[in-house]
Structure formats: C-alpha cells, structure tokens
C-alpha cells in the first residue's frame, strides 16, 4: 500500500513537473543598444514586449541593453558557443562579420511569407541593404540616419554670413567657412579623424556610386579623380577646423558656446543642442549637407537593424522581430525619439511628419550615400578604415598633395583588401 502510494506520488510529481515544463514560458533573449534600454526608450520597448507577450501567451522576452562593441563581440562569441540571443540589433557595417560567423539567420523565406502590405511599409533602399543576393536577406532595417548639417546661427551672423539660405554647393559652403575663420571662430570639426566623416566629405564632391568595395576583385571602387577632389577639401578645411573629431564632446561644447559654425553629423546630437537652446539660448538650425552641384546633397546614411538567430526559437523570434518593426510600433518609436527609421509608412504618419528633425532626415536619406557598402557581402578589414583616416589626415597635414594622397590611398586600400 505504502509502495503504491509512493509510486503514485512520484508519478504525480513527475507529471506536474513535465506539465509545467510544457507550459513554461518560451524565453527569448532580445539584445538592444544600451541607449534603447534606458529611460523612456526602455519603457516603450517594455510596452512592445508586454503587448507581444499578451498576444502570445507562454512567450517571455528578456531585453538586455549592450554597447556597440558588446553587441558585436557577444554575438560572435554566442555564435561560437551556440548561445546566440534570439532577436538582436546591430549596425549594417558589421553585418558581414555576423554572417561570416553564422550569427544571422537568412530570413528571406520568413520575409516573403509576410503580407505584401507589411513588406511595402519599408524603405526600398534600406531593404536592399539587407538583401545581398536575390534569396538572401539578413535583417529588417530599424532606426537609421541621414546626415544633416547643424549651423550655429550666432557664429555665422557674427561672421557676416547670410543665414537665410543654407549653402547649396561646396564652393558656397567653403566661402562661408572662410568668413567664419576670419571672424576668429572654428568653421568645422576635423573631418579627417573618423571614417564616417571622411565618407561624409567624399559624399559632398566624390562620385557616390563609386564608394565601396568590390569584394570579388578585392579592390576599392574609389576612383582617383573623386578622391582627389575629396582630399582637396581636407586641405582647404585644415586651417579652419577645430582639431576635434565630429564625435568628440569637445566639438559639441564648441558648438554650444558659439565657437563652431558647422557640425555635420546624425540626428542624435539634436537633443543636446535643443537643450542648449533652452538653457543658454543657442541659436541653431539643421539643413541638408551641400553637394557638388546645386540641387544635389552630400552626407552619409546608415541603419541599425533587427535580426534573428538561427535556432529553435527562430519562428517566434521572427514573429517578435516583425512585430516591433511594424508601422505602428515604428511610428511610436519615431515619435518618442524624434528619430528617423526605415519604416517609410511610419515616417509618413501625420504625427511623425510634424517633427521637423524627422522630415529633414527623410529628405537627407534620399540624397545620402551608404557609408560602407555593400553590406552582408564581405567583412571590411580594419585596415581599410584606418588607412582612410590616416591618409586623409596626412593630406590635411600637408604630407601629400591631394592627387598624391588619393593615389596612395587607393593603392594602400587595395593592398589592405588583397591581404
């Protein structure tokens, strides 16, 4: 009798545990950029999660914020150890590395299975960035940026620049820089210091179609004439720059304290400048980056993306990824952050189009050049980036003429790619 009772108890306990196991939450690890995992952004992400969990009982999403490097190294290590997060964000520029290590699922089938209405919501160029080949797709583009030019109106007015019309071409922009410099202020940050600012200047006067890498031939697409024009801009700007990079806090400080006239960068600095406008009366605006000719514009663009890992949770991970990137969520996200994103339908939402920064960003993206194409094809070696900035700096420092610098740069880039 006792033995029978014990057996029954054991069976009941086992059944309870097994049942509980079957019903227990399917946990998804969701990695986002650290600034999306704090403050108001986190609250909205948690709202998305709560809504998704309510629609999908038994699913639990665990959100985790990580810095840029942590995201990439965590995904690479996760791919090696089989502990990848299920849904995650990252930047297009590291997409190829993630494909190489098997961290990204090819979502082409899932994408094509979605209703046309969903697929049509997205910016076509952004989707093309995620699709290196006809049947290969690795991401859904998420937030992004098109570069804009912040102008310190006080500095420009003091320098005698008419601020009613932004500079339309490089020549006009350069003229204004000279006036600013003559007034004893800095015209621009040092644009040679980071890869994105070199790319940004190239987009002003270079051939935007010839920026990138031919991974098959292992050669850069950049042509000497285009690069010579870009290098000449670095020489022209050298005596007028602040010596700080576009990402330095020092650059923002110079802008806020009316020492710097132009800052070409993404929309993420706007909250700082808007705060300064409130606190200390900073007079500024943002306009499109001038181009080589009137009507064209420079600037670069790129996207953060959402993607999923190959693995047992793939189906539900895709469902969640497509939920957070759907128009309604993207519009809410855009309104909260006042930031452009790749969901074109969300960008057309009347409440979103009332936000000036987003309107300008949407316009900027139309002209902007992809910062590091082609994506998801080959990993850009680090030497490619360092050669670009080092050579731009060397030309600005007067070690090479623009023409010599361009030729040397292309030779070194090809050497780097060949290795």
């Amino acid at each position: 009798m006792i033995a029978t009772t014990c057996r029954a108890a054991i069976l009941a306990t086992s059944a309870t545990f097994l049942g509980a196991g079957a019903l227990s939450a399917q946990e998804l690890q969701y990695w986002v950029y650290s600034d999306f995992a704090q403050g108001e952004a986190l609250k909205l992400q948690q709202e998305f999660i709560a809504e998704f969990e309510a629609e999908n009982p038994g699913v639990k999403i665990v959100i985790s914020g990580r810095g840029d490097d942590d995201l990439t190294s965590g995904q690479i290590a996760g791919a090696a150890s089989g502990t990848l997060p299920d849904v995650f964000m990252n930047g297009l520029a590291v997409g190829a590395q993630l494909v190489e290590v098997g961290a990204l699922a090819n979502i082409h089938e899932e994408w094509m299975a979605m209703p046309q209405e969903f697929r049509d919501q997205f910016d076509a160029a952004a989707i093309a960035s995620c699709t290196p080949k006809p049947e290969e797709m690795y991401c859904i583009p998420y937030t992004g940026f098109g570069e804009i030019m912040y102008r310190n109106l006080t500095v420009l007015e003091e320098a005698g620049v008419d601020t009613t019309t932004p500079p339309a071409t490089w020549e006009e922009w350069h003229e204004q820089m000279v006036k600013v410099s003559e007034a004893g202020k800095f015209a621009v940050p040092d644009q040679t210091q980071v890869f994105n600012s070199v790319a940004s200047m190239y987009a002003v006067r270079g051939d935007k179609e010839k920026w990138g890498i031919d991974f098959e031939a292992r050669e850069t697409l950049i042509e000497p004439e285009s690069m010579t024009r870009t290098m000449q801009m670095f020489i022209d700007m050298a005596p007028m720059n602040s010596g700080t990079s576009r990402n330095d806090q020092g650059t923002r400080d110079l802008f806020i304290t009316n020492q710097l006239a132009f800052h070409v960068v993404g929309p993420w600095v706007n909250p700082t400048y808007a705060q300064a406008a409130n606190d200390s009366g900073l007079k500024y605006d943002f306009v499109l980056v001038p181009g080589a000719t009137e009507g064209d514009h420079g600037g670069i663009k790129s996207y953060e993306f959402v993607s999923i890992a190959p693995g047992p949770n793939r189906e539900i991970a895709w469902k969640f990824a497509s939920y957070i990137t759907e128009k309604n969520q993207m519009a809410r996200w855009a309104k909260l952050l006042s930031r452009y994103n790749a969901n074109a339908a969300a960008m057309a939402d009347p409440e979103v189009t009332a936000l000036p920064l987003i309107v300008k960003s949407v316009e900027a993206v139309k002209y902007a050049m992809d910062v590091m194409p082609p994506y998801f094809v080959g990993a850009v070696p680090n030497c490619y980036r360092s050669i670009m900035t080092d050579m731009a700096s060397a030309v600005a420092d007067g070690e090479y003429t623009a023409e010599e610098g361009a030729e040397e740069l292309i030779a070194e880039l090809n050497d780097c790619l060949a290795r």
Binding site: A103, Q193, R419
Partner: protein, 295 residues
C-alpha cells in the same frame, strides 16, 4: 608516503587543478592551436602554418603599434617609477594624519575605474575648455589639442598613465621604505651625509628588491597597455588608435583583429608574439638582477 595516504592531499588540490586547467591551461593551449589556424570562431579551423604570424609581423599596424609601444615604455616606466619614488619619500616624511591623507589621496587614481579616469582626463584635455588648456591660457599659451595632435597624444597618455599608476607603486615603495632600519640613517647623519646622499647610498640600495619588483611590474603593465589609450581615443573594435594611429598599441590591435575583423587565428598569433616579448624582457631583467647581485 603511500599513494593511499597521499590521495586525500591530491583530492584537496583537485578543485584548484581542475579550475586551473579549465580557465588557464586550456585557453593557452587552444590559443596556441588557433594561432596556427584560420578561424573565425564559428567555422571549422583551417591549418595555415605560420601564416598568421607572418600576417601580423608584416602588417603596417603591428610596426606602428610596436613603435608607439617602445616610445611609451621608454618614457612611462622610468618616469612613473621616479614619480612614485618621489611621492613615497614625500609621504614617508609625514606621520599621523597627513601621512594617511597623502597616501590615500595619491592612491585614489588606482581605485578609480579606468573609464572614469579616462573620462575625467578627456574633459581636462579638451581643447579651449579643458582644465589643462584653461591653465595654459592663463599664461598666455595657445590651446593644445592633446588628444588629436599626433605630436602630443603619446605624452598626454603618459601623463594619465603616470597619474594612475604612481599611487600603486608609491604604496609598494612606501612599504619598502618602512622596512629600512632607521639606525642606518642615524649613522649616516652622524657621518655628515646629506639627505640626497642618504637616498643615494641607503634608500635606493636597501629598496633594490622592491624597486626590481616595481620596475618589472611596470614593464609588464606597460607592454599590455590597453584601457587608457582605448578610452582616451574613443576607440571601438572597428576603429581604434586615434588620429593617424598615434595611440595604437599591440593589445588594441589584437582586439581589433579578433572582434573587428573576426580573425581569431591572427589575434591568437598576436597574443603569442606579445607574450614572447614579455617573457623575453622579464627574463632579461631577472638575468641582469642575478648578474648584479653579489654571490
């Protein structure tokens, strides 16, 4: 002793042995294995012989980082130890509250997280508004771009490193100073030795073993310099070393190859090259010390 009697001893050492093998020996051995392979952490490793070592040794960034490292070591190790020694002598000359106060104050940078220390210095070095440039401005000197002027960047880094490491070395040297018998100084004073002569003929010789440790440790730390230049230049895995790679150092380059370019085999080879350099320098220092120590 019979094996049976030794068994409990081995059993007690076993947990350490297992952890040591898992977290120390295995990474070293697997690192050595991967240094001869083309491996991106996810796909099958492919044997490439010495190709990774060749790629590292022939790369532009390796020679640049080594050149930066040599200059950095040549200045930072002697300067850091001289400053620490000076501070130790200064603190040693105080007693009671002031000795404790200065010891704590000079040690503070050691316990400060590296990112915080680097952030503070980034602000202090900021052009035009930074504290250092403000002070220079009071003397009518122009603003210096410490973190972007390629002629200044290395010295700016050395200043931060000396500031961070001086406190640690000072505490060790101070402990050494406290162990020097006071009667040696009394005898020297009776013989009419000046303060400088006392330092030259008593303090430094009596501190020799401690100084040897501090110098060796300083070399090893300097060879592995990473966090401060990484943070000062706002580096990431894909872009590091600051303007014209003026603050590029071997460990930074190694990290970039691993997580920026996903070339773990090359990064492992880099690690072993650096390890060989560290072992060589440390062995050379031990050899010099053994040669100079009277038998």
């Amino acid at each position: 002793m019979s094996a049976r009697r030794l068994l409990p001893h081995y059993a007690m050492v076993l947990p350490f042995g297992v952890l040591f093998a898992a977290f120390f020996l295995y990474p070293i051995v697997s690192g050595l294995y991967y240094s001869f392979h083309d491996w991106n952490a996810a796909t099958e490793a492919r044997f490439v012989g010495l190709a990774n070592y060749e790629a590292v040794l022939n790369s532009r960034d390796f020679s640049r980082s080594m050149s930066n490292l040599l200059t950095y070591i040549a200045i930072t190790v002697p300067l850091g130890i001289t400053v620490a020694f000076g501070l130790a002598l200064l603190v040693d000359s105080f007693s009671g509250f002031w000795a404790n106060f200065f010891r704590s104050a000079f040690f503070l940078p050691v316990v400060l997280p590296a990112f915080l220390a680097a952030t503070i210095w980034r602000w202090m070095y900021a052009p035009n508004f930074g504290l250092v440039n403000m002070v220079l401005g009071w003397f009518g000197m122009p603003s210096i771009n410490f973190l972007n002027d390629t002629g200044m960047m290395l010295y700016a880094l050395i200043a931060v490193d000396v500031w961070v490491s001086a406190g640690f070395n000072m505490v060790i040297l101070l402990a050494g100073l406290k162990n020097i018998p006071q009667d040696l100084y009394e005898a020297a004073r009776l013989d009419g030795a000046s303060r400088i002569q006392q330092v030259r003929y008593i303090t430094i010789p009596m501190l020799a073993p401690v100084l040897f440790f501090v110098i060796t440790y300083g070399f090893i730390s300097a060879l592995q310099v990473f966090d401060v230049p990484w943070l000062l230049t706002g580096s990431s895995f894909t872009a590091y070393g600051g303007r014209r790679s003026a603050l590029l150092f071997p460990v930074m380059d190694m990290m970039g190859r691993a997580f920026g370019s996903v070339r773990f085999g090359e990064a492992a080879a880099y690690g072993f090259i650096l390890t060989a350099v560290i072992i060589f320098i440390t062995a050379a220092m031990f050899a010099v010390r053994a040669w100079r120590t009277p038998k």
